[in-house]
């Protein structure tokens, strides 16, 4: 498996404003891999040899300490991950695990670093990608520390709505236990949070959710552009704001 030029890869903001030359040199070293669900791609503390690009499926990034575990983010296509470790040629600070069957492009870390050194445009593209990731984490921390569980859920639902077109019906993209982890709470508490939001017009039916009283929900959630990334989903080549594109921001409330 060795695609030099998937359209999806070319569409990556990482390569958008980079010469074909560099682009080819970098992707030339890449391997496309398929992984089954629930596979650990990378373990905390491991040295990182590849930059990963998620093309299909879902990947969870998690951290561990003393048999406790926390979800840092859940990625959806198209996203890169562990870029920072690649740039520094350092060990991974978090583990990566597939949540479903995934299609992942693996790009040699050496190639990344070398081409950055030789092509300023590419290095700039990487910087922009990294900056977006950084800002995604800042949003995550603010979301986590400033809001309570119910508020996080409310905002998650609102940004999910925004990203999926704005109707009053939305569809949860994850199992509820995964959503709970993403929102930094237990499945039990997520259940209760949904129950609480019932009072604000939120009706849940499996993975389908109707936001009845949008106004009420918004008054509770108080969405904030400095926490929630309301970027529309994938208007290919949004150009102006790399952040829209970058790694950690596809998911809703927590990024």
């Amino acid at each position: 498996m060795r695609p030099t030029d998937t359209p999806k890869v070319r569409a990556l903001p990482m390569f958008a404003s980079v010469s074909d030359d560099t682009s080819n040199r970098v992707t030339g070293t890449a391997y496309l891999q398929r992984f089954p669900a629930n596979t650990t791609l990378l373990l905390e503390g491991d040295p990182v040899d590849f930059l990963y690009v998620l093309l299909e499926g879902q990947v969870e990034l998690q951290g561990t300490w003393k048999d406790k575990e926390t979800t840092l983010t859940i990625l959806r296509p198209v996203s890169t991950f562990i870029l920072a470790a690649v740039v520094l040629d350092a060990d991974a600070l978090m583990s990566a695990r597939t949540l479903e069957r995934c299609e992942i492009l693996m790009i040699s870390g050496d190639a990344i670093r070398q081409n950055m050194a030789e092509d300023a445009a590419f290095a700039v593209a990487i910087s922009r990608e990294l900056s977006g990731c950084y800002r995604g984490l800042v949003r995550t921390i603010k979301n986590q520390k400033l809001r309570g569980g119910v508020e996080r859920l409310a905002n998650y639902l609102l940004t999910l709505r925004a990203k999926s077109g704005g109707g009053e019906n939305i569809h949860l993209p994850h199992e509820k236990r995964v959503l709970a982890a993403l929102l930094g709470m237990t499945p039990e508490n997520l259940s209760r949070a949904f129950a609480t939001l019932g009072g604000y017009g939120v009706e849940v039916n499996g993975a389908d959710v109707r936001l009845g009283k949008l106004r009420d929900l918004e008054r509770l959630a108080r969405p904030d552009p400095l926490i929630d990334n309301y970027a529309p989903r994938a208007p290919l080549l949004a150009e102006a704001d790399a952040e829209i594109w970058s790694t950690e921001h596809q998911r809703a409330g927590a990024a």
Copy 2:
């Protein structure tokens, strides 16, 4: 005030492996500014025109939502901040405020971006700096979500000890209320946490702390290289690991 070439600036990893040429072009646009304590340098949501480099003093980065406030990090010299916003030419996601009298170098964002585009080595240096910041945030989140208040304090004390040479006596570099904010708890709870650590040989006397039973404290704290950054303090030009140097990591347990 317009120093083209402070030694401190030259010592920045950001410029370490960059040509004098680029280095001069970038710092040529810089202004050295002094600020009194408790001054807001930058407000959440503001457009960012400068990269800030803290040369003297302490700066707190904080986030706000609905009249709640959280401290994201406290910077000590030498550190850059809001680099990500500069790279993307985007609005700040967090506010910056001086905790004491500060000496800060302000570098034009335009100059940064332009020189990145023209000098690959500089762009790489920025990428490494950003990567370090990113990883610092990952550590912060793991510290926050995986550990309880007492554990965070215990680890903070241990990494502070490591950074200040390893004796059994350490000196807290912040007021306790600031430390509390940094560790993500209230001053009241910090007090109680110190009281709890009394059982582990921790004796507090104002800002002076003695770690009596190091072994016990370590068994409680379970420090982890994937959360706590035990980098020694400032062996100028550590080279190998840019992370040691970069922005958010000077502080102990939370980064």
